[in-house]
Amino acid sequence: MGRYTLRRLLQLVPVFLGTTFIVYFLVWGLSDDPFAGKCGQRACSASYVAEMTQRYNLDDPLIVQYLKYLGSLLTGDFGQTFSGTEVSTLIANAYPITIKLALVAVAIEAVIGIAAGVLTGLRGRGFVDNLVLVSTLVLIALPVFVTGLVLRQVLGVELGWIRPSVPNNPTIGQLFIPGLVLGSLSMAYIARLTRTSLVENKRADFVRTAVAKGLPRRRVVGVHMLRNSLIPVVTFLGYDIGALMGGAILTEGVFNIRGIGGLVFRGIQQQDTATVVGIVALLVIVFLLANLIVDLLYAVLDPRIRYD
């Protein structure tokens, strides 16, 4: 287990270098004129271009630029945006909000999704099963921003139950509806995954043995069936946590949540390399760590899986 974890952690290094370089390359590659649109409805003055070129090492070859950037990144300097704000300040302001939102979304999708899956998986065909089937279909068919805009309009503007926007230091309660919107799609997938997995395992040999041994039904379902059925669900959840930690551009936009997704989006739009690469570097690490944790969790869930 220890060696496996170490190996996985070491793998982070090339992945980190590769992704940051590709992102760095792509952001500068977006346009051959990095100053287009930086000065309103006119071309930037020669002295502005000269000054900014020097400040961001733009006249160096790409690889040299990247290495200079990486060097300061490794000493903890994320650089500055064009508006003179430290990128590290931006991340420090935005990331707690994103983490909160991601956790709320994951909690909602896990609790509701698994509960619905277990309910339908155990009961089999019937009214509840059809209800879940139809409602998950609707959730999967609806794009997230539609769900978000509808809920904001109905609950926020028409009924006045929630604020249309989330304040800057949101409480968990204020993030409940955005979390629901964000998690709705995955919630539907989790319900279906859990159901299918349970139905499959229902007829498995080890379940029949457990029933034959005379174990109480609670134990058969709770320990033997559910624990095995949740492996694909945990894989999905782990991936989802990683993805949600990367921010949610649409949901953040609809509810004006000042998270990391909107920050990256704005950075890309304005071709602000320091912001984009800095955040992406961080997100890559978060995503890889989340996946590592999921892989380690398998061993906990399924004793047949061993690392080393």
Partner: protein, 533 residues
């Protein structure tokens, strides 16, 4: 622990957390009662007057600083603010006396030197200031504006005594005093020049509000300056600028009472006049200085014939598009300037900007038709898609040519095409006047080689007419000269005027007044809350 027990535990903790936070809301409302919150966006550059030319930074700068001249909140007419008098005998050298008693927020006095130092800083090349070109008319600008300046300061600026300085321009520019209300001309204190980084973190100005705090990408708060020397003192204790990524969310927040002021109205709410119902007395509209137009790439030989350009202009049904897409709120253009600009003459464009399908077809036939598809380009991140589509349809149906809307993804891409002369068809231009005079719609756009002349337009007669107007003996004569130049440009039609956008904004029911001036800048001294009953 069995998994089910774990799930139960997680759910339980979550439920408790939800209940706890639901009860916890509602604190800290004391400050709220004396704060007006406004929709805002992150500024593109550090908050320095000479380095700010866009709206977000400009709104904060205008609250933090006071200039030599201010513009009336309703009419946009200029009047002296920090300036006591601005006099000249030849419209080339101006003597500016400033009023005594003005101080910066750090207590130091506002002197003639403050203005001269600030203007020199903005003009200096290595400072890479966005508003650098606003100093280009001052004598000595060329020596300091390059990457390696050959002079430390502009020789056209001279301090006479602590309350007086003179400005010598390269050539007479009669309306110069009127332009001095623009934020690039605001004074900065010595603290800026001593420690720029510290000053940027906490800007120090001379305006009716002081800097209080800022969380980048979230909000910025200003607090009333009780030592303010001007007449228009702040009425409200605090203003909080809140960053929104979508205008619609801010608009919904104003309607549901979570935000006090929104600086624009989303186009979805304009249609059918819904915003007036939503906002009631909080809906505001006044004449502004913003225009939309469609430029021709004159470097493309297909557009060389003025008849083709005129035909396309006359094929656009402006009235119908304004009514259907903008709820009749915008004004179809009859020239390049807007009614809020001093020197505006109505109907300058005449029949060339009037929808006339028969005449349009006739002109196009006379010019020998048009070859190939006609593309119309705009950036799709600016909300231009609906009307660009409508304009393309109008041209196609009227002239029977293959006119299509071909959006580019971002403003950056639009500017890249403009800077590299890469357009192959009509391109959208938005223009926001910098000061309320007709000149702001002409010189920067149509003079040969001007900074925003993206068409590649050059007409010696126009250049001569503009120069003559610059040097006219009186402001009135200058404005008449500019209007004459405008007629010359319109006959050439390098740029099709579409419509002017009024200044529209919305206030919540808590707000007694929160006004914009015709330049669409927030006038924070007008901000006031309703007395609480």
């Amino acid at each position: 622990m069995s998994l089910r027990r774990l799930v139960t535990l997680v759910a339980g903790v979550l439920a408790v957390a939800l209940v706890a936070t639901a009860c916890g809301g509602g604190g800290g409302d004391d400050q709220n009662a004396s704060t007006i919150s406004s929709e805002w966006g992150e500024p593109e550059n550090p908050l320095i007057p000479g380095n700010t030319t866009e709206q977000n930074g400009g709104d904060v700068i205008d609250a933090l600083f006071a200039g030599l001249v201010k513009y009336d909140v309703n009419t946009g007419r200029p009047s002296n603010e920090v300036a006591d008098s601005i006099t000249t005998t030849d419209n080339k050298t101006f003597t500016i006396r400033i009023k005594p008693g003005w101080t910066f927020h750090d207590g130091t006095p506002v002197t003639a030197q403050s203005f001269v130092d600030s203007w020199n800083w903005t003009a200096s090349g290595p400072n890479a200031a966005q508003a650098q070109s606003f100093m280009e008319k001052i004598d000595g600008y060329d020596e300091v504006s390059t990457e390696a300046p050959t002079a430390p300061t502009m020789r056209g600026l001279r301090v006479v005594d602590p309350q007086t300085f003179t400005v010598t321009l390269k050539a007479p520019f009669t309306i110069f005093p009127l332009t001095l209300g623009y934020s690039a001309y605001y004074p900065m204190p010595q603290a800026f020049f001593q420690n720029r980084q510290a000053w940027e973190d906490r800007p120090i100005g001379n305006g009716e509000f002081r800097f209080d705090s800022r969380t980048p990408n979230q909000s910025l708060t200003l607090v009333r300056n009780d030592q303010y020397a001007g007449q228009d003192k702040a009425q409200v204790q605090r203003i909080q600028f809140r960053v929104y990524s979508e205008l619609q969310t801010a608009y919904d927040d104003v309607i549901s009472g979570n935000l006090d002021h929104v600086r624009a109205i989303p186009s979805a709410a304009l249609g059918g006049g819904r915003w007036r119902q939503d906002l009631g007395a909080g809906a505001h509209q006044k004449e502004g200085l913003v225009t939309d137009s469609l430029g021709f790439p004159l470097y493309d030989p297909r557009f060389a014939n003025p008849l083709v350009r005129q035909a396309i202009s006359m094929a656009i049904d402006r009235r119908t598009i304004v009514d259907q897409i903008f709820g009749g709120v915008y004004t179809p253009a009859s020239g390049y300037a807007t009614a809020a600009a001093q020197g505006f003459v109505p109907g300058q464009c005449g029949e060339l900007c009037t929808y006339n399908p028969d005449r349009a077809r006739q002109l196009l036939a006379q010019a020998g038709g048009f070859q190939g598809p006609l593309t119309l380009t705009a950036n799709s991140d600016g909300g231009h898609d609906p009307y660009m589509q409508a304009v393309a349809n109008s041209i196609r149906q009227t002239l029977g040519i293959d006119a299509r809307y071909t959006p580019v993804p971002s403003f950056q891409e639009q500017r890249r095409l403009a800077n590299s002369q890469g357009f192959t068809g009509l391109f959208r231009n938005g223009w926001q006047g910098d000061y309320p005079d007709i000149e702001t719609f002409l010189t920067q756009l149509y003079r040969t080689g001007a900074s925003s002349n993206d068409y590649g337009y050059s007409n010696p007669a126009v250049d001569a007419a503009l120069s003559a107007a610059d040097q006219a003996p009186t402001v009135q004569a200058a404005d008449q000269g500019y209007a004459a130049a405008e007629r010359l440009v319109l006959a050439d039609m390098p740029n099709i005027p579409l419509w002017s956008r009024p200044v529209i904004y919305g206030n919540s029911s808590r707000v007694a007044s929160a006004e914009h001036n015709p330049l669409n800048r927030q006038v924070t001294s007008t901000y006031a809350l309703n007395p609480q009953g």
